[in-house]
Symmetry: C2
Subunit: 329 residues, 2 copies
């Protein structure tokens, strides 16, 4: 038999592609008992403002209030029995800390959460509520990593990364899988971009489960590392972190960046006042509580109305954990 | 045939009872195209706090953001073609003003909304957005009634009452009908009590559609007119209106009071701080925006945990129209 190398490459691609689709399906089935199937909402006023059909996948209604529960649950469920007995460790002062704590508690696994000592008390309390053990460290990336490594060594705990780990990305993909099941005619899905774990998962889901659905990222201009990374072709860093969208201050990683490069159409950047306006619009018109990071996606659509005109647009609302006594509007 | 008077009375009751049930079914079918079937949500944390199964019928997601859309739509749909051509008039600076404006606009009917000249601009704007024509008057009950009467005379418009009119009460009942369809095992339904239109509709729905479901009202202690009315047996007034639950400052009417007397178990009164705590709990844990009036029902359950222990409790969330830049917490 005479087979060319390009034919072999194509066959390999087909096998891998199918395997990945199976992996996502298995992931979804694995985590289903531990997550909510969140609702899809819409607002006729927002549709009218944009001249398109905008639907919102509401992960603010997810357990612990954010999509992070999906990735955390999958990462812990993917551990061996022995690994589970030794516990998990992560460094996060945001939603991933709560997600790991809750997923671990639900599965009877010990969770060590490394947090900077100056993290807000409200965030520490949330982790404690879900049974996570907080280990404080100095507020530097070096101290954070050193502390997490120490726990890995001392306890044999498995490190879970908030966004740059394939089990987390696969878990995150299930939000888009559910979205596409309910809205098979979506022409574009938009997610906020922080560490890149949500958009990478969404892009995989669109690739495997959608007929023809683009994936676009939305990012605050103040922390536009992903926007610049897609242009330069390597992972760029942020030099300032001055955005109201506190969940999006992180940068991409080597595990999610190739997926984003391959499957994400582009990143749209928005200004701070556009984020706050979009957030208030969602609160007032949709009567749901979303965090500033989630509003970034609607802000991008509002900014580029013409581009989305008459399209079926799906926005993934990443979460709803916000201090309601300290709002930006 | 020898029929006793008590047998005749019983037969009359049966016929009337069945007619009323048919009326409610017809009402629901009539307004269905003009309302949202709102979702039922729950929070495992709130269930745990109370030790009961609490489900929330979310009328904050209703069109224009409150259950009032149901009554307004039914009242306008019940008009003759001739009456519709002459328009409708109401006096309200709250949710009913918006509901009448939107329902009228949808049905091509002119809506005249009498509002006190000192009503907040945000409320005037909302009415204008929905196409209602605002007629300002002095901020007294006398001026309000006189102005509405003048419009009735001048335009031949039909007056719609926010809570004390049977078409409005029947319309309101459809929230509880949907609730019971989805949650047939509810043992108690709780609604806030202002003008009495929601609780009267809910009580009718429970009477006709539930197997055995009590209806309880929740009211701010500061405006406890309904609580006192049920005790004294006649409609009591409030002497002060100093509550954060601004939708509940009105008093009962002769059309809804007899229904409340007959079918409502009791009214629970709550303090202002209890309302605010319950509101913040719903915002933070359920990630939904509810107005203070809606939080009164959960505040009542939180205050009397023991009474509701292990029960299936349904709370009707009346609305979500609140100035997000001016919150009580």
């Amino acid at each position: 038999m005479n087979v060319s190398s390009s034919e072999i490459a194509f066959l390999q691609f087909c096998i891998e592609n199918n395997m990945n689709k199976q992996t996502l399906i298995q992931t979804h089935n694995r985590i289903k008992p531990f997550i909510h199937k969140t609702p899809v909402l819409s607002s006729s006023l927002i549709n009218k403002m944009i001249g398109a059909t905008i639907v919102f996948k509401c992960e603010n209604f997810q357990k612990m209030g954010a999509f992070k529960m999906r990735g955390a649950a999958n990462a812990i469920l993917s551990l061996s029995e022995e690994e589970r007995q030794r516990g998990v460790v992560t460094h996060s002062s945001g939603n991933f800390a709560q997600a790991v704590s809750l997923a671990a508690q639900t599965l009877g696994v010990k969770a060590y959460i490394v947090m900077p000592e100056n993290a807000p008390q409200v965030k520490k309390n949330a982790v404690k509520t879900y049974g996570g053990e907080i280990i404080e460290c100095e507020a530097t990336p070096q101290a954070r990593e050193a502390t997490a490594n120490q726990i890995k060594e001392d306890k044999g705990a498995t490190f879970l990364h908030p966004s740059n780990q394939k089990e987390v990305i696969y878990g995150n993909s299930t939000a888009a899988i559910e979205f596409l099941e309910e809205q098979p005619n979506l022409e574009v899905m938009i997610t906020p971009v922080g560490g890149g774990g949500l958009i990478a998962g969404t892009a995989l889901a669109a690739h495997h489960f959608a007929k023809n659905c683009k994936v676009i990222g939305a990012e605050p201009k103040a922390v536009d590392d992903a926007y610049r990374s897609l242009i330069s072709g390597h992972i760029e860093m942020n030099s300032s972190f001055n955005t109201v969208a506190d969940g999006l201050r992180t940068h991409l990683g080597d595990c999610n960046f190739p997926i984003i490069q391959k499957h994400v159409e582009k990143i749209i950047c928005v200004e701070e006042d556009e984020i706050i306006t979009a957030m208030q619009l969602i609160w007032e018109r949709m009567k749901i509580i979303v965090e500033p990071s989630s509003a970034v996606a609607l802000a991008a659509v509002l900014k580029h109305k013409e581009e989305f005109k008459n399209q079926n647009v799906g926005i993934i609302v990443s979460g709803g954990n916000v201090d309601v006594r300290n709002l930006p509007f």
